[in-house]
């Protein structure tokens, strides 16, 4: 990369260091859930924000996080670098491999190409939320028991994609699995285990529903 361009403003940059000192404020979900228009949205109605840091409020796994980020910071980097939520991985960083998969309003997205500022007002769900009570989710359990993992770096993304996929396709065929999970890549070659895991998780989730 050879191009360079001066930023309009460097003032007020919230740095990683600030975050680690605790500048990233976290409050519980209930308090701000009905907080109507968030800060960046309010600013946007009047015009333009950035390129320096902008107050951004993210609702992640039911908790509200207030951050100050440049508009160029992706949702993935905001979570990984500024909130230390690292289950979602950075792999291709170009909307190809699915390792960064999060759910946005319950739909899987590539967080590497979602800007954090665009994610305001949406419900973000990450892999961390699926074990908040310490127990593995049915999809995780099935991945574990079918050894649908080796190095494990693609696994959280696959688990998220599968979780959303099974919500939509509770009785998947193998062909649906292959199409539905075509947006995730594994390097170690765990697809055989993943195929088994998805079928087993589907069964387990139905069992769970039937039992109330």
């Amino acid at each position: 990369m050879r191009k360079k361009r001066k930023l309009k403003s460097e003032a007020g940059a919230l740095t990683r260091r600030d975050f680690l000192k605790g500048a990233g404020v976290t409050v519980s979900g209930g308090l701000l859930a009905t907080g109507a228009v968030t800060t960046a949205q309010a600013a946007a109605q009047e015009g333009v924000v950035g390129p320096g840091p902008v107050p951004i409020t993210l609702r992640i796994n039911g908790r509200v996080h207030r951050l100050s980020l440049e508009p160029r910071i992706t949702l993935l980097d905001a979570l990984r670098d500024h909130l230390n939520i690292t289950g979602s991985k950075k792999v291709c960083d170009r909307a190809t491999c699915g390792a960064c998969t999060m759910l946005m309003d319950k739909k899987p997205v590539y967080a590497c190409t979602v800007l954090a500022i665009e994610a305001e007002g949406h419900d973000i769900t990450t892999i961390e939320s699926l074990t908040e009570n310490g127990r593995l989710s049915p999809v995780m359990e099935a991945f574990w028991k079918n050894d649908a993992q080796q190095c494990g770096f693609c696994t959280p993304g696959f688990v998220m994609a599968c979780t959303a996929f099974l919500e939509k396709n509770p009785n998947p065929t193998l062909e649906q699995i292959e199409k539905g999970l075509g947006g995730n890549l594994c390097r170690c070659g765990t697809y055989a285990g993943i195929r088994r895991a998805v079928l087993e998780a589907a069964k387990a989730m139905k069992g769970g529903q039937a039992n109330g």
Binding site: P108, Y110, L115, A164
Partner: protein, 328 residues
């Protein structure tokens, strides 16, 4: 990624006011999968990004037999796929959108963004511009052109139009609505795509301060459609060749056939040759094969992409057969 200012207007007029009259300093953000990636690669270096996803009027989809299907630019591919009217009346569109083969892309990608995404040409993506120039000379003819154009490739543009949706939309006679400071205009989808002939020219007939707002697809009962694409991978990948077909059968013969190829030329590539071959004929495998051959008769492959001629021919043949075999 370089820093930029950001706006997320609620109205179309506001959005248009935020766009300057020249390319470069501002980009319109919709799904973001292509644009944000291009920004990370330093291919796009906007100083301002205008997010149009909060403009409600761009996110509507309506259908009526009289008006046809109106798809707001920021309707996602997933929303398109899940729409009952689309499923019922536009199976070809469903086939084309499904080709994305990634649930994440379907959820993020918008119909407007799909049409306006930039080419995947790896010289372009590595910073050599749309025309892949180095010292004024295109890198493509003597380079790694296995994924480049086989039609409309007299130069200087050799990239292929990447849109999955454009071929079927063209086959269906769809138009796009564009809004700019001086109001709205409408274009047939085919006219949205242009082959650049000089540095700085884009591959879309779209002014820097215009926004693609809507895609309108006529309702044509009795028209059978099909899309066939060939690619290396089954998972998320780019087709090597794609064909979209729309036709009617009357009294045992084909009427009003439209055949449009994708991924083979700098623009979606309608084939009047294939259409002439089909018109008024009784469908058969031989006829479909003849149409496929006609579609690529003018192909001028480069040093490493001769195989795409065969793939385009087969895609046309199989799309025709698939369309013919459908009911309705």
């Amino acid at each position: 990624m370089q820093a930029f200012e950001y706006a997320s207007p609620r109205s179309l007029q506001e959005a248009i006011r935020l766009l300057p009259a020249q390319w470069g300093p501002t980009d319109v953000l919709a799904g973001g999968t292509d644009l944000v990636s291009a920004m990370k690669d330093g291919i796009s270096t906007p100083q301002r990004l205008v997010n149009i996803k909060q403009i409600a009027e761009l996110h509507r989809m309506t259908f009526s037999p009289r008006a046809g299907l109106h798809i707001g630019a920021t309707v996602t591919l997933r929303e398109l796929l899940d729409d009952g009217a689309v499923q019922q009346h536009y199976p070809g569109l469903i086939q084309a959108a499904e080709a994305a083969r990634s649930e994440q892309l379907l959820n993020m990608g918008t119909v407007g963004g799909e049409l306006l995404q930039r080419p995947r040409c790896w010289y372009y993506r590595n910073g050599y511009g749309l025309l892949a120039l180095r010292d004024g000379k295109s890198l493509v003819p003597e380079g790694e052109n296995q994924y480049h154009a086989i039609l409309g490739n007299a130069g200087p543009a050799y990239f292929v139009s990447p849109s999955f949706l454009a071929p079927i939309l063209i086959a269906l006679g769809a138009t796009v609505q564009l809004h700019g400071p001086r109001g709205a205009r409408s274009l047939p989808v085919q006219k949205l795509f242009v082959t650049p002939t000089r540095v700085g020219q884009r591959e879309h007939d779209l002014a820097p301060n215009e926004i693609l707002t809507e895609i309108r697809v006529p309702y044509r009962p009795g028209v059978r459609t099909a899309v066939y694409e060939i690619r290396e991978k089954e998972a998320l990948d780019w087709p090597l060749a794609m064909a979209a077909v729309a036709l009617r059968q009357e009294g045992g013969v084909l009427r009003d056939p439209r055949v449009v190829l994708g991924q083979v030329a700098p623009v979606p590539w309608p084939s009047p040759e294939a259409e002439r071959t089909l018109t008024g004929k009784k469908p058969s495998e031989d006829l479909a094969d003849a149409a496929g051959r006609a579609a690529v008769a003018q192909a001028t492959p480069l040093s490493k992409n001769g195989y795409k001629v065969q793939l385009a021919r087969i895609a046309v043949k199989r799309a025709i057969l698939s369309a013919v075999q459908q009911g309705g």
